[in-house]
């Protein structure tokens, strides 16, 4: 935890630190004051991220100390000479460690006794999730935990809590919005109208925090997810272009209408949506975390899924390497070897010999094909079981 660093953790907590100064609307604040700040990027996430991370800074301030504020405001070279760097990286990642552990606990609740150890092993000892959670240290583990929690409460038939968890997830990241029909459509077709209403009510209650900031969020935040989802289009003649994701999502919605309101079928539908997102977009590596707990639920029961996971993980790793960000690769070890970022090993060896665009496209095609194999295998397993 203390030895891996990606600048995203610093930029997110830099913005979150304004909560202690009494700033409530971070979007407006940055719009007005951006040019006077040492770090000039906009805040591109829903508001609960700001309040969550801002609250954590306040709670953990006795552990973080004054050097933390100085470090947050320093954006030059030599940041690794911060005398409390390791402590600060450790403390900042405690919420992510907590969510990681809670996801592990929740995963066991979906499975029979004989599958639980495998699930825990796959979740806690997977190098990719360790890299994403503690290396990239983005907050995506939090909405991931909340979506799993929503599914857990759904399984327990506590639809209000399920909705609240899902609404909270949406207030962290927008992608769980795509899950709302996957929960409600099966309930509606099973004539569980009251339960669908309670679920949606829970979502709305939890997402109320979004309302005061919705206008500013839509105006000033720059959503990477929306851009990538809408980027890949089918052309019908010259006039009509339809984002591929719309077509695929429509197919998934049809599946959900015909699906029973069972938790495992809904988990499968969620996995379909997430595989679609990652297959057709130049995804940010932390997005891979969104689908992994759902993958573990099925892989723990059917370990031969891991064969299909090999091309999946390989293409994921290749797509990381092809990203224009050294901190995604060896730069992540900068707290240990402070000149590893500038050494540029990959740029000097691998990248000077390959075409990044072709490599990235090939990796995505492989990822898409492997996703289809995984989904087909899970679909057969669910049908065999029922």
């Amino acid at each position: 935890m203390p030895f891996l660093f990606h600048p995203d953790i610093k930029s997110q907590y830099f913005h979150a630190s304004f909560l202690q100064q009494g700033v409530v609307n971070i979007y407006q604040y940055l719009k007005i004051n951006k040019e006077n700040l040492p770090y000039k990027d906009s805040f591109n996430y829903p508001p609960l991220v700001y309040f969550f991370q801002g609250s954590w800074i306040y709670i953990a301030s006795p552990l973080l100390g004054q050097p933390f504020k100085d470090w947050l405001n320093y954006w030059g070279e030599g940041w690794y000479f911060n005398p409390q760097l390791y402590r600060q990286l450790f403390v900042l990642k405690i919420p992510y460690l907590t969510a990681d552990i809670l996801i592990g606990v929740l995963l066991t609740q979906f499975l029979e006794e004989r599958f639980r150890k495998k699930a825990l092993f796959l979740w806690f000892f997977n190098p990719l999730t360790i890299y994403i959670i503690y290396g990239l240290s983005n907050f995506d583990i939090i909405p991931t935990f909340l979506t799993i929690l929503a599914l857990f409460y759904f399984k327990k038939k506590s639809y209000l809590y399920s909705g609240i968890a899902m609404g909270a997830a949406i207030s962290f990241k927008l992608y769980p919005l795509l899950f709302l029909p996957l929960f409600t459509f099966p309930m509606l077709t099973s004539k569980l109208f009251k339960k669908a209403f309670i679920f949606l009510l829970g979502c709305v209650l939890a997402a109320l925090i979004f309302l005061p900031f919705l206008g500013d969020f839509l105006k000033y935040a720059d959503s990477g997810l929306l851009k990538t989802l809408l980027g890949f289009k089918f052309s019908f003649g010259q006039a009509i272009q339809i984002p591929v994701f719309y077509i695929l999502y429509a197919v998934i919605l049809i599946f959900s209408i015909r699906s029973k309101a069972n938790w495992d079928r809904i988990a499968f539908l969620m996995l379909m949506v997430l595989f679609c997102i990652l297959s057709i977009s130049h995804f940010h590596p932390q997005w891979f975390l969104w689908l992994f707990p759902f993958f573990v639920i099925f892989a723990a029961q059917r370990l031969n899924l891991l064969i299909y996971a090999v091309p999946l993980f390989t293409s994921f790793i290749i797509s990381i390497l092809a990203f224009e960000d050294r901190f995604l690769t060896l730069g992540i070890f900068s707290p240990i070897i402070f000149n590893i970022y500038d050494a540029g090993l990959l740029e000097q060896t691998v990248f000077s010999k390959i075409d990044k665009t072709t490599t990235l496209v090939s990796a995505q095609i492989v990822f898409g094909l492997a996703s289809l194999l995984v989904l087909y295998s899970i679909f057969r397993y669910i049908n065999e079981r029922s």
Binding site: P2, P83, Q84, F338
Partner: protein, 204 residues
């Protein structure tokens, strides 16, 4: 049983590849030790025909072989030759020519050359110029209010010296925060004790 072997096999392959690659990276990094690091702010100085930019610096070590300079080529408009020259007084030590196309829009550009020896504690300078670039497509260099450039100078060391410098640097930085070191070692030790005592309980 088959499945457990598959799992372990996959994890082993990933870990071994990772360790090999990290080792290579360490060996590579060791040969590039920081000499001078100067990060100076967000003003911009234009470099084009007739408008060079020079920077003096004091070299802390010998065997300089890399200089990074923070440059900006807006819209990658500039595609002219761009020349980096490192001097000791008037004597040209090394010269590196690149194309403006190799300079991104806010990029730490690397100028690498054969190591320059006998420069420890000496005052050197490097010069950036582009004889054919127009003002409209100038390369911009980041500077502070005193017009000093943002740059980093690295020296090439042999393996053993480089390894010692990096290890010493890591331990010095880690050991500064003694309270955290004690806490962290205690946590790791506790986890290991729990793990091994559980395994021991199982086998007995």
């Amino acid at each position: 049983m088959k499945e457990a072997k598959l799992l372990l096999g996959l994890i082993t392959i990933v870990l071994v590849t990772f360790v090999l690659f990290l080792s290579l990276a360490i060996v590579y990094s060791i040969r590039m030790i920081p000499n001078v690091i100067q990060n100076n702010g967000d003003n911009l100085a234009a470099i084009y025909a007739g408008h060079d930019k020079e920077q003096l610096f004091q070299s802390n070590q010998d065997n300089i072989n890399v200089v990074f300079v923070r440059l900006k080529n807006i819209g990658i408009l500039n595609k002219d030759p761009f020349i980096f020259t490192i001097r000791a007084g008037r004597k040209v030590l090394k010269e590196v020519k690149i194309s403006g196309q190799n300079i991104g829009d806010d990029d730490w550009v690397k100028f690498q050359f054969e190591k320059v020896e006998n420069v420890e504690n000496k005052t050197l300078s490097f010069n950036l110029h582009s004889d054919t670039a127009r003002k409209e497509a100038a390369i911009l260099a980041y500077t502070n209010k005193s017009d000093e450039l943002s740059y980093k100078v690295y020296s090439k060391e042999n393996l053993s010296t480089g390894m010692k410098i990096l290890i010493r640097s890591f331990f010095n930085r880690f050991m500064v925060d003694k309270l955290f070191v004690i806490f962290y070692i205690a946590i790791i030790s506790a986890l290991l004790i729990i793990l091994f005592s559980k395994r021991h309980a199982k086998t007995s």
